[in-house]
């Protein structure tokens, strides 16, 4: 009797498993996850951080040249500094997707040190703070930057100092420096330019030092990169390689929150951050006009992390290969197609976001829709298929 029951159960189970497309066995699955981590670390993260150090060093050198040049004879040096800024700024836009490890927020990611905000805190900025510091003649040295808020340092501040050559400041009319006349006094003297140069140099030095810190924290022997590629090994903070991939996945959320919502949604009047028809003032890189180029770099890096390579087709292991291994090749194709469409739409914009917000709002909104088409899949079937989770979401238990 008991035997018959057991046999019946086995028969039912067998019938179920025979009529279902069975999961493709692949014992090298964990190996693939580890390979994806290794590719991400070696082919994407380390080179990007190394290039950041190189470009930030060149930027510091160019700003130094401008700071040393005598007033009235510094136009060429300023042009060089601006060019160096553009190169460094766009290099950084790829690193923006690496919001994990030393670059990630200290309280939110594994081994986070918050260095991203130290280098580029946008959209959190307060340029008035810098103008106030210029009036106060604060010395922009290491001691100052060690304790200063992120809004008074980083690329956004340097952009303002290099590209704003007017005597206007970023403060509201009722700010103290405007009401007590201290700014007017400074603006009327050659000291304003000298102080701006000194500040620019201080910020550039801090950027270079911070970029080195980030690079070393990641790439030095035993650094974050080594630890990440050893995810799942004995003593690792990640239980499995998949848990390491969770951190990489969390960094990719940049495409959703920053690219879609902050860089596109706000200036295009799509999010309630803008109650008018459009809000060019909310665009990134307001002085240098690098916002669209930055978007392209962000999306190119998103694609590279997804596929494991900057090449259009490559054998490098990325999230796309994990999808294929899980039998979700169609999803991989759909996500790649949507990502490529978003990159193409960004390239086609051909003008800064602030300009597009007034001249080509439809194009801007179409780009937003293209990015959303990708991130919708990214936040639903992609994460469900690979069982990924943002570490910060993991606070608390399940059941």
């Amino acid at each position: 009797m008991h035997l018959r029951i057991v046999l019946n159960i086995l028969l039912i189970w067998c019938a179920a498993s025979c009529t279902t497309p069975s999961p493709t066995p692949n014992p090298s699955d964990a190996q693939l996850q580890r390979q994806a981590l290794e590719t991400f670390d070696a082919a994407l993260a380390r080179p990007a951080l190394e290039k950041t150090v190189t470009d930030f060093a060149a930027l510091r050198e160019a700003v130094d040249g401008w700071a040393r040049a005598a007033q009235g004879q510094d136009a060429q040096a300023l042009t060089s500094a601006k060019a160096a800024f553009e190169t460094a700024f766009l290099t950084w836009q790829r690193v923006e997707l690496l919001q994990l490890g030393p670059l990630g927020a200290a309280t939110q990611v594994t081994a986070g040190e918050g260095l991203r905000d130290e280098i580029y805190s946008w959209p959190t900025t307060n340029l008035c703070r810098v103008d106030s510091a210029l009036v106060a003649n604060t010395t922009p040295d290491d001691a100052y930057f060690a304790t200063a808020l992120v809004t008074s340092k980083g690329l956004a501040v340097l952009e303002e100092l290099l590209f704003n050559q007017s005597t206007a400041n970023a403060c509201l009319p009722n700010a103290t420096i405007n009401t007590n006349g201290s700014w007017a006094m400074l603006a009327g003297s050659p000291a304003l330019q000298e102080r701006r140069k000194a500040w620019a140099l201080g910020v550039a030095r801090h950027l270079e030092a911070t970029a080195r810190r980030a690079r070393d924290g990641w790439s030095a022997p035993g650094g974050f990169g080594d630890k990440l590629t050893q995810a799942g090994a004995m003593g690792s903070v990640w239980r499995t390689p998949k848990d390491g991939l969770d951190d990489v996945y969390a960094g990719l959320f940049y495409a959703d929150r920053w690219v879609k919502d902050f860089k596109l949604g706000a200036p295009a009047g799509i999010t309630p951050a803008c109650m008018a028809q459009s809000c060019p003032a909310l665009a990134e890189s307001p002085r240098a006009g690098l916002s669209t180029k930055a978007l392209v770099e962000n999306l190119v890096m998103t694609r590279a992390i997804f596929t494991g390579s900057f090449e259009q087709t490559s054998s490098a292991v990325g999230f796309d290969d994990l999808l294929v291994e899980r039998g979700a090749g169609a999803l991989k194709d759909e996500m790649l197609q949507k990502l490529d469409a978003a990159v193409a739409a960004a390239r086609a914009l051909q003008r800064p976001v602030a300009v597009a917000a007034t001249e080509d709002l439809d194009g801007l909104q179409a780009l937003h829709a293209a990015v959303k088409a990708f991130t919708d899949l990214f936040k639903s079937q992609f994460v469900t298929t690979l069982s990924l989770k943002v570490p910060k979401e993991g606070a608390g238990d399940n059941d």
Binding site: V390, A395, G396, D397
Partner: protein, 436 residues
């Protein structure tokens, strides 16, 4: 009839050795206290209680005042002390400890729906039973022991019934997804990679849940059942982040053992009281109502809709444990009534990452947040607004489906069930299902 009742009442009121429940109560007290202390030590009080700027309310518990954030650490500490007193105290002290624990634990757990956990609900119920049942003295009435056993059994059986669905038993989902994610684990990983592991695991879990209370109850099968309990909950502990649940259920299994089992381990012999008091009619009615509620309430999902995994109607308080891998991309479209200008709002504008992730697959929470955003914007605009939602949800690896029709205004939505019945996701053909 009367004679039969008297016989039953006499049986139910007969004394059982209180040794096992005494040990159980002490260990549960420590476990529950540990669970509260752990919330503090892991730093989870931040994301769970302190960081959210918006909270999802339980409609049925809207009358409970919100715990002030400053009181959270105090509630954890006082609740933990209460749990220890519940575990080790006697008489009024035990009951007072229980009440303190239940008040603190309940107050904390009702803070936000996205913090809901089945094992918290079970912990609360067990805490309540250990508070009110007559557990002092060397013995306890048989009905009290059996009520505790019933409470544990009902969890298992409903958890097993919830697994009787196509995704679980035919597609091996979501275990297949979770096993694949954990193939990098040492020792267990290679086993999880075996092709039949997800289906075998699914069937084993379902059969385990449906039958384990009965195997534990029968003297002959008990030793094997205890091994199964240790293996099953050990495996779930190794694979999933389910907190105290495996420990709680392992402790619960001891309720099914011979009530005198601690004596075999050297527990000092205390005479078991003889005689006992027959079960009174009023108490019997109360017990019957409690038992009926626990047996039937988890089944309400069958009345509320045809697919609880999608609609989540009747999902909570029903022992539907670890049934789905579900994620969604949710964005709201808000506009002033009668106008075409729209704004899109991402839930992460107002929610923590954890809240946003939890709400993204739960229609009632999607509506709750949508209405909050609508009220907020209406206040800013000084005009009534309409709120629509683009909720694309993927369940157990399926391609994302829209949960709500794009034209459904959440501000005027009166019948969530009807809206879900008209959900575009129902138009999906079976062929489009991507689970494997």
């Amino acid at each position: 009839m009367r004679a039969r009742w008297e016989q039953l009442a006499g049986w139910a009121g007969a004394p059982e050795d209180g040794a096992s429940v005494r040990v159980y109560r002490a260990l549960i007290g420590l476990l529950l206290a540990g669970a509260l202390v752990r919330l503090h030590l892991t730093g989870w009080t931040g994301p769970l209680f302190l960081e959210p700027t918006f909270r999802f309310e339980y409609e049925a518990f809207a009358f409970v005042p919100v715990i002030p954030k400053a009181l959270v650490p105090w509630a954890l500490a006082v609740g933990a002390v209460g749990a220890v007193v519940l575990g080790f105290g006697a008489g009024m002290a035990r009951r007072l400890g229980g009440v303190v624990f239940l008040a603190c634990f309940g107050w904390l757990k009702l803070y936000d729906v996205t913090n809901y956990l089945n094992h918290d609900y079970l912990a609360f119920l067990l805490g309540a039973l250990l508070t009110v049942l007559p557990l002092d003295g060397p013995s306890l009435p048989r009905w009290a022991l059996w009520l505790l056993r019933f409470q544990v059994g009902v969890v298992y059986v409903h958890a097993g019934l919830a697994k009787v669905n196509t995704d679980w038993l035919v597609h091996g989902q979501p275990l297949e997804t979770w096993f694949a994610a954990n193939r990098g684990l040492p020792v267990l990983g290679p086993l999880l990679a075996l092709p039949f592991a997800p289906l075998l695991g699914s069937w084993a879990a379902c059969l385990y849940d449906l039958t384990i209370p009965f195997w534990l109850s029968a003297r002959r099968t008990r030793p094997f059942a205890l091994v199964a309990v240790l293996v099953f909950h050990g495996a779930t502990h190794a694979l999933f982040d389910i907190g105290i649940f495996p420990f709680l259920m392992t402790l619960n299994a001891t309720l099914f053992l011979d009530p005198s089992w601690p004596r075999r381990l050297g527990w000092r012999p205390v005479a078991v009281a003889q005689g006992g008091r027959p079960l009174g009619a009023a108490l019997a009615v109360g017990l019957a109502m409690y038992v009926a509620f626990q047996a039937l309430f988890p089944l309400r999902s069958h009345l509320l809709g045809d697919d609880v995994l999608w609609d989540e109607q009747g999902m909570r308080w029903s022992w539907k444990v670890m049934l789905r891998e579900k994620n969604g991309a949710v964005s709201y479209r808000v506009r002033a009534k009668g106008e075409t200008r729209e704004w899109q709002i991402d839930p992460r504008d107002v929610l923590t990452a954890r809240q946003a992730n939890e709400m993204s697959g739960q229609p009632d929470l999607i509506v709750q947040l949508g209405r909050h955003l609508g009220r907020d914007l209406a206040q800013k605009l000084g005009r009534p607004v309409e709120v629509f939602v683009d909720a694309r949800v993927s369940l157990n690896r399926r391609a994302p489906r829209l949960l709500f029709k794009p034209e459904v205004d959440l501000m005027t939505l009166e019948n969530l069930r009807q809206a879900l019945n008209e959900s575009p996701r129902r138009a999906s053909s079976p062929e489009s299902v991507a689970v494997r």
